[in-house]
Symmetry: C2
Subunit: 206 residues, 2 copies
């Protein structure tokens, strides 16, 4: 399987056995997650903002107000560190120390390219909608020129990238296995609930 | 109700109607979330790492390997920007532009204090365990001196802090309400699944 090249910055130093640079695994984490966290220097101080993201090949896209301060900073060329994390469960061990978390996480470093061509901008925004609801683009009103202009779309090439994953049961010190305490996984999953109708939609349909 | 002071950096500029500085609301978001994202400059470049967190009064705690590079950087005095975000749902509007996300998010800026006293370190780590499973501390083996030493606990005073929240249905342009497309919320919730026994625990109990 295809791997991302390992660079000095993306070499996972702590817990390196949990590291992977596999392209398919990275893609799957990015595609399952809805929220990424973007970090960058703003006026030489750290800033972290959450935002929705979507992916095409080895490019991650985000969008937001073209007046957003962090977006402006990224457009001006500041490097971003982007993390995407899925929480899968708490690992409940027999000792406090060996408690852990099962997770899948991707971190990469990249500089933004602003998508300014309206046709390409519209195409990439459609990809975001397709990630959430595949057939919705055909049903909704598409963005008009002013709306497209007010929306910044930033593309980040994923090249300097690593994933870190923990799965499976706790790993305790051998002596602790005799302790009379439950051990295992408390699993977590981000679940969709039943759709909630917009009250104005409901008014028109009842 | 008590409010965090609004500073130049924590003034929410985009979407300011969604901003709140209310202490109880900030606390509730921090307590419901299990993962925070820590951003800081490392060797003058941005770094973002996810980690579990817990809270006591206006202090947020994180822990990790004392050899973790970002932890070292924070201990040396680099300022952190910390974001905690709960995804509540996708807001499905009648126009592409008015699609949005319902979320609750806290961002704050702070410098770390390393908790080095073993008794205080143990006390704060117990608070983390109590967040996850209130009565577990009494059942598991507590950390020995070497394990405590290998664990860094960092405390961040929450003073420069804002929350941003979106709730409720989509808000469409008036003309778009006539469009024949469903509109409403796709809710999301991080749910606990059924406990998964450690196979070695199961072997001893069947």
């Amino acid at each position: 399987m295809s791997e991302f090249p390992i660079t000095q910055r993306t070499t996972v130093k702590r817990g390196h056995k949990r590291a992977t640079y596999n392209r398919d695994i990275v893609h799957a984490i990015l595609d399952e997650a809805y929220i990424c966290h973007i970090g960058a220097k703003m006026k030489d101080r750290p800033m972290v903002q959450p935002t929705t993201h979507w992916r095409e090949k080895d490019t991650l896209y985000i969008h937001g107000s073209s007046k957003n301060g962090l977006f402006q900073t990224l457009i001006e060329g500041e490097e971003a560190c982007i993390n995407i994390t899925l929480l899968d469960g708490f690992v409940m061990a027999r000792s406090a120390f060996h408690h852990s978390v099962n997770y899948r996480s991707v971190t990469f470093f990249s500089k933004a390219t602003s998508i300014n061509d309206p046709i390409e901008k519209k195409r990439t925004l459609d990809l975001m909608m397709q990630k959430i609801t595949p057939d919705r683009c055909d049903q909704i009103r598409e963005p008009n020129p002013q709306e497209l202009k007010a929306t910044a779309v930033l593309a980040f090439d994923i090249t300097e990238c690593s994933a870190k994953i923990r799965t499976g049961p706790p790993v305790d010190d051998e002596a602790d296995y005799a302790l009379p305490v439950w051990a295992g996984i408390v699993p977590f999953d981000l679940q969709k609930g039943p759709l909630i109708n917009d009250p104005r939609w409901e008014n028109d349909h009842t």
